[in-house]
Symmetry: C2
Subunit: 302 residues, 2 copies
């Protein structure tokens, strides 16, 4: 006689404007999910806890969070949101709140982009590859990076949107990043596109020069990835990436810029759209419970 | 009664112009070393084998090699030099040669810059840190990157010198990289400095504008590292780095460019010179035998 045991795996994707909670499998299979607006920290987390509690008692919780957030499990302030401009969230500990609610649960935390990168690399557009970058372009620009089969952290975590890139010839747009003006995010995020061209990205036609400009900045950022944490494939998602032809334009420019130098680039599918769409983050959060679990040496309890 | 066993640990740093062989400890302690010019592959490797044989039979060999070289131990052509312009070396397998000479030895291979990075991070200028970049500026520019305590590889290995960086205002130097013209290496390597200013770097006085220009390009490359594989400290070595004040100038510019955004940068010792000097590579190669050993699933024998 065989005895099967099921454990409840929960996940939360905490975004700047919306939160997703789910239960499912550590292979990324979604069993049930619930989406609601992100409000105050207490209200948002309480809503997540109540939803999880209805489903049972989670034994593992994977969290994909917006940042900046302390994801180093050895740090005393593990799970705490850092200098975020989002009111009320600065200094709030996501992991403490969940640990108080579910003391027996194993908690794993990653950045939202790292979770999405993991999902695209395991079951999405870069399935089976160990070196993958997932770039998202929306109100900001960020990247999750899988290198040698591990999600990169380093000091805090990557902030890909703030890489400096050469200006496109004749481009005199000042850039909109409050810290750096013309970093990649300052030149190519959704709000940068709108400010530069006077219209939001989704209203710009496919033959608008905006898209050659956008591909230029993205391609130079990708050359940075190739020079530092060489991906075998780059997945670009986020609202702005829905523009028709943007991946192909960027792919062509990356190949031109590579100049035959980076062998990984020699194919037409180097830059691709995501396969999991809006679900990459939450499915990656489920996967964190298996693939990237690290115990917290300093349980950050009140 | 206790029985102590000593094993012989050997290392080789294979450079474009000189080769270093050594025996010592896996903690980086050098017991003996020998330096000689790099000539043909067979002659160079035979000389290394003969020197090792005089010392005994190595049980572990750490290799730090110039590139591009296949460092993925799962690849069929592990240990093979790839598209190098160095005559005779393209397609030569360093690991096959050493495995034939010492079939019982465990062989570990890394890029020369990754080995140097490891040594500086363990016993050098970034001792005890888990997130370190080691940049070398000489005839080319390269970087070894330790991120989350692991040396980064990705697809092949990083080629930091070929990152694209914004031009300094008013700088109309075309750049000398045969692949990309004005990538970091094309703008800031030793030969680039000589071509731009008409004198080799070591003849340019400390107050020459060359050094503000050099710091500009290096600082922008370092912002790329901060955005992708955030180091806690950056060590800059290589011939060009011997210029007085270059590290301080670069440090100041990195802080300015960071704009308060990257918390790792908030100290005056973010960009530092190496502590191990010329010995970083060979001492790192010794350390590879302990810290980074990976067996080769496909012994690449003839």
């Amino acid at each position: 006689m065989r005895c099967l045991t099921f454990i409840m795996i929960a996940a939360m994707e905490l975004g700047g404007t919306k939160t997703v909670v789910a239960v499912g499998g550590s292979n990324g299979t979604l069993v049930d999910e619930f989406r609601f607006p992100t409000t105050s920290p207490q209200e948002t987390l309480m809503r997540a806890v109540e939803w999880f509690t209805e489903k049972g008692a989670p034994e593992a919780i994977g969290i994909a969070a917006f940042g900046p957030v302390r994801i180093d499990p050895k740090a005393a302030d593990w799970g705490t949101l850092l200098a975020t401009p989002k009111p009320g969230w600065n200094g709030f500990s996501i992991t403490s709140f969940l640990r108080d609610a579910f003391p027996a649960a194993r908690i794993t935390l990653e950045t939202d982009v790292n979770a999405a990168c993991l999902a695209e690399a395991r079951i999405g557009a870069a399935e089976g590859l160990e070196n993958v970058a997932y770039i998202t372009i929306g109100t900001g620009i960020g990247a999750g990076i899988l290198c040698d089969g591990r999600l990169l952290h380093g000091a805090l975590h990557p902030e890909f949107g703030h890489i400096r890139v050469p200006r496109k010839k004749g481009d005199d747009f000042a850039g909109i990043c409050p810290f750096h003006a013309d970093c990649l995010e300052g030149m190519a995020s959704g709000p940068a596109i709108e400010k530069r061209w006077g219209k939001p990205a989704q209203e710009l036609p496919v033959d608008h020069p905006a898209w050659e400009t956008e591909a230029w900045y993205l391609a130079h950022g990708i050359i940075g990835l190739l020079a530092i944490s060489p991906p075998q494939r780059v997945v670009i998602g986020g609202g702005v990436s829905l523009a028709e032809g943007l991946h192909e334009k960027t792919n062509t420019l990356v190949r031109e810029l590579a100049g035959g130098y980076f062998p990984a680039v020699n194919e037409s599918t180097y830059v691709v759209p995501p396969k999991l769409g809006q679900q990459a983050g939450i499915r990656g959060a489920l996967m964190l419970t298996l693939t990237n679990f690290q115990p917290a040496p300093h349980p950050p309890r009140h």
